[in-house]
């Protein structure tokens, strides 16, 4: 399932929780783990220096510097590395999201694990905050494999994974997310919650919806789930379907807490927005930042079908 895991880290505390989950999963699934760090932003024009992502300092990009950064990473993650059988460390200059996607593609990764890399992070490199802020969004959208985003300590992750919540908006990308969630559930034997939130904000658009209308729409969504997803579960019966109404990200967060979820699986296919608005962007961003369990963003069928 997860032969090759790419753990993309900023090397800062924001990725501590992600590191914990990445090493745990690698251990459990006996995966080959690649720790990958993008160390500095290069210029557009001619230059041999990069701006260090963590410190904001200008550094000469050469083998010395790369070795030093790798050494730092080794120290930072020492407690995990000493228990890890196979973990390669690589560091490179570039735009973080671009290099993470390039590496995942070259490495043929089955899973990317990363921190939320949000604008809440204090990197000291204020100039690049915009780039860092959209990082997660860019990677989640472009990656061909599932992207597991961990922003907070996972309190329910005792055994990866026992309760999987799959949130759908019935988009094409959501189907890829479903393929991943169901495949994982079947392999591990975990409970699969198929969830849809009726978006009251979007549905209402100024008019008041009667209770009958709401219920009719809920029925409609249930039928859709039964038609689109259930045939693919075949004889797997450890699942449950629920449809709640409200603001999607609030409902999915409430639902996953109620079900003690240790993994939320969603698609992240919204168009990219301006860096300044990214933090308030789509449902996924909100879920990622607030969920108390890892969130897997899956948008392409490449690594999850079959």
């Amino acid at each position: 399932m997860f032969d090759k895991i790419l753990f993309a880290t900023t090397g800062t505390p924001i990725c501590d929780n992600a590191a914990h989950v990445a090493f745990d999963i690698a251990k459990k699934y006996n995966s080959n783990l690649l720790m990958f760090h993008v160390l500095g932003m290069p210029s557009r024009g001619f230059s041999t220096v990069v701006k260090d992502i963590r410190t904001g300092e200008v550094e000469q990009y050469d083998t010395d510097y790369i070795s030093w950064v790798k050494e730092e990473l080794k120290n930072t993650y020492e407690k995990y590395l000493k228990d890890s059988s196979s973990c390669d460390i690589q560091a490179i200059a570039g735009v973080p999201a671009t290099e993470i996607l390039r590496k995942a593609r070259q490495h043929n990764a089955d899973l990317i694990v990363m921190g939320a890399h949000s604008r809440q992070e204090e990197t000291g490199a204020a100039r690049y905050r915009g780039a860092v802020g959209t990082n997660m969004q860019h990677v989640a959208r472009g990656a061909r494999c599932p992207v597991l985003i961990v922003s907070r300590p996972c309190t329910t992750c005792l055994w990866y994974f026992s309760n999987i919540v799959f949130g759908t908006d019935f988009s094409k990308a959501s189907f890829s997310a479903f393929l991943f969630a169901s495949k994982l559930a079947k392999e591990i034997g975990s409970k699969l919650y198929i969830f849809h939130a009726l978006d009251m904000g979007a549905v209402l658009a100024g008019k008041v919806l009667s209770q009958e209308d709401v219920e009719a729409r809920i029925q409609e969504a249930r039928k859709k789930i039964e038609k689109i997803y259930l045939p693919h579960l075949r004889d797997y019966d450890n699942f449950q379907i629920d449809i709640w109404e409200g603001i999607p990200y609030v409902e999915i967060l409430k639902y996953s807490r109620a079900k003690n979820a240790d993994l939320i699986v969603m698609a992240h296919h919204t168009k990219e927005v301006e860096p300044d608005q990214a933090i308030l962007g789509g449902t996924v961003e909100q879920v990622v930042l607030r969920a108390s369990c890892p969130v897997a963003s899956v948008n392409h069928p490449d690594k999850v079908s079959g």
Binding site: P42, S43, R44, G45, F46, S47, T48, V49, Q60, D62, T63, D64, A93, G94, V95, T98, L101, R102, R105, R127, G142, S171, K172, H269, H300
Partner: protein, 460 residues
């Protein structure tokens, strides 16, 4: 010690030599060794005899020291009108002396020459426009850089840069495989949003062969994707070559003429091999100057022209807008005040000023010209390789003041800058002086406002 291990007269031709030089952090040992580098006077004299012809000798001779060039130089203006920054002084005290002494100069003199040729001039050629005799000091500084390079007196970064071209035929370590793989990757990444999108490699007889700046595949591959999407929307029959895709020339900045020739020859070979109708290069200024304006002479092409007609990206965009291949949604045009950075290399030195104005008339509602502008515009402050030279960083930052004040005077907060080095210099001036401006290439702006024909839209 006649020549050092790092600092010597031998160009970088192997990966090993390149890595060795790169490992010398910031060129510390390199510059230390330079203090002991002997000038090969006989070789310098021989080069002068062979290459310093009547044009340069006449220019040096007829300069009347009138000082008309002084105010044309942004370094002179930015440095409180320091007489040592007057272009005629800068060239007379360097190349003028070398010619006068017929190459009989010493190490200290050559280091002063290097610091002048790269630290006090960006080869923007603006001074040449204001000389009553038509003396082009930019051209002479280019020539002077070549003399310095042949003697080993060249900034560390540019020795590396020229070496990159010699080894990879690109300014960065991007191999042909890396390049083709990046093309495939970008096509894959965007095929869902843009059904039918392709980045055709080595397609023969295409209408357009597209060439780039190596920084794009190396660090900013989305630039390539954006170019592909715009060609796709415009319905162009285009291709990229697997070899000969890089148009830039740090070798030109370094004065390494042999590497310059190797570099452009790779591009011309691709033209001959794939027989496209024409070539379009990405939004890069010096790449165009190197490959389209200077290159044919380096390669010894008698016509003085590239094997197929060659266009800068702004020429293609202006044409696409004019002919309706690209249509702009009027409601999405840039509403805020916006200005345009005329790059020296394709505006002053190649005459494409009207293309830029034509583009702005389609995409902007409140276009503000800088003053001066077009062929009279000042260099961004980072041209001629200066952005990347650690040794002259401070001088560069002082020089940026002129561009800063020009931009501020327009009242615009957005600067359209279709040139990699201008883009960097403007980014850096914001970083140094915090004036609250933004800057952009054309491609991302166009993609936000272009009308996508229905048959090219994705389902979702």
């Amino acid at each position: 010690m006649p020549e050092g291990i790092f600092c010597n007269r031998t160009p970088i031709n192997t990966v090993e030599a390149l890595h060795t030089l790169l490992a010398d952090k910031s060129g510390k040992t390199y510059y230390a060794e330079m203090n002991a580098l002997e000038v090969d006077r006989a070789a310098l004299k021989a080069t002068l005899d062979k290459t310093c012809k009547s044009r340069i000798r006449t220019w040096l001779e007829i300069c009347a020291h009138c000082g008309m060039c002084a105010d044309s130089c942004f370094f002179y203006l930015a440095n409180n009108k320091d007489p040592k920054q007057v272009p005629s002084y800068k060239i007379q005290s360097t190349l003028g002396q070398i010619v006068k002494k017929n190459g009989d100069v010493d190490n200290a003199f050559m280091q002063m020459v290097m610091d002048t040729a790269w630290g006090k001039c960006t080869c923007c050629n603006r001074c040449g426009m204001y000389c009553p005799f038509g003396i082009d000091m930019g051209v002479m500084f280019g020539y002077l850089r070549g003399l310095c390079y042949s003697q080993g007196f060249v900034p560390w970064e540019l020795k590396i840069g020229a070496g990159m071209h010699r080894i990879y035929r690109a300014q960065m370590d991007v191999t042909s495989e890396d390049w083709v793989d990046t093309c495939q990757w970008m096509a894959e990444e965007n095929e869902e949003d843009w059904p039918g999108l392709e980045i055709p490699v080595d397609k023969e007889d295409a209408d357009i062969i597209y060439t780039v700046n190596a920084r794009e595949p190396k660090h900013y591959p989305e630039d390539l994707a954006e170019a592909a999407i715009l060609f796709h929307i415009a319905g162009e029959n285009w291709t990229v070559p697997s070899v000969g895709w890089e148009e830039t020339s740090l070798a030109m900045f370094a004065g390494d003429w042999e590497a310059c020739k190797l570099q452009v020859q790779a591009v011309y070979d691709a033209m001959e091999r794939l027989k496209p109708k024409r070539m379009v290069v990405t939004e890069c200024g010096h790449a165009y100057r190197a490959t389209v304006i200077e290159g044919p002479y380096w390669a010894g092409l008698k016509s003085g022209k590239t094997p197929v007609p060659s266009f800068h990206y702004v020429e293609w965009v202006a044409e696409a807008l004019r002919t309706g291949k690209l249509k702009i949604d009027p409601s999405k045009r840039i509403k805020e005040p916006v200005t345009y950075q005329d790059s020296c290399n394709y505006i002053r030195n190649a005459g494409l000023k009207e293309c830029a104005r034509e583009i702005m008339s389609y995409i902007a509602e409140d276009f503000r010209e800088m003053s001066p502008n077009k062929e009279h515009n000042f260099c961004c402050g980072g041209g001629g390789g200066m952005n990347g030279l650690g040794r002259y960083r401070e001088q560069r930052n002082i020089g940026l003041k002129v561009k800063r004040d020009q931009i501020l005077a327009t009242g615009a907060k957005l600067v359209v800058s279709p040139c990699h080095n201008c883009w960097d210099a403007i980014r850096d001036l914001e970083e140094v002086y915090h004036v609250g401006i933004r800057w952009s290439f054309l491609k991302p702006l166009l993609l936000k406002m272009v009308i996508v024909p229905d048959h090219l839209k994705s389902e979702e």
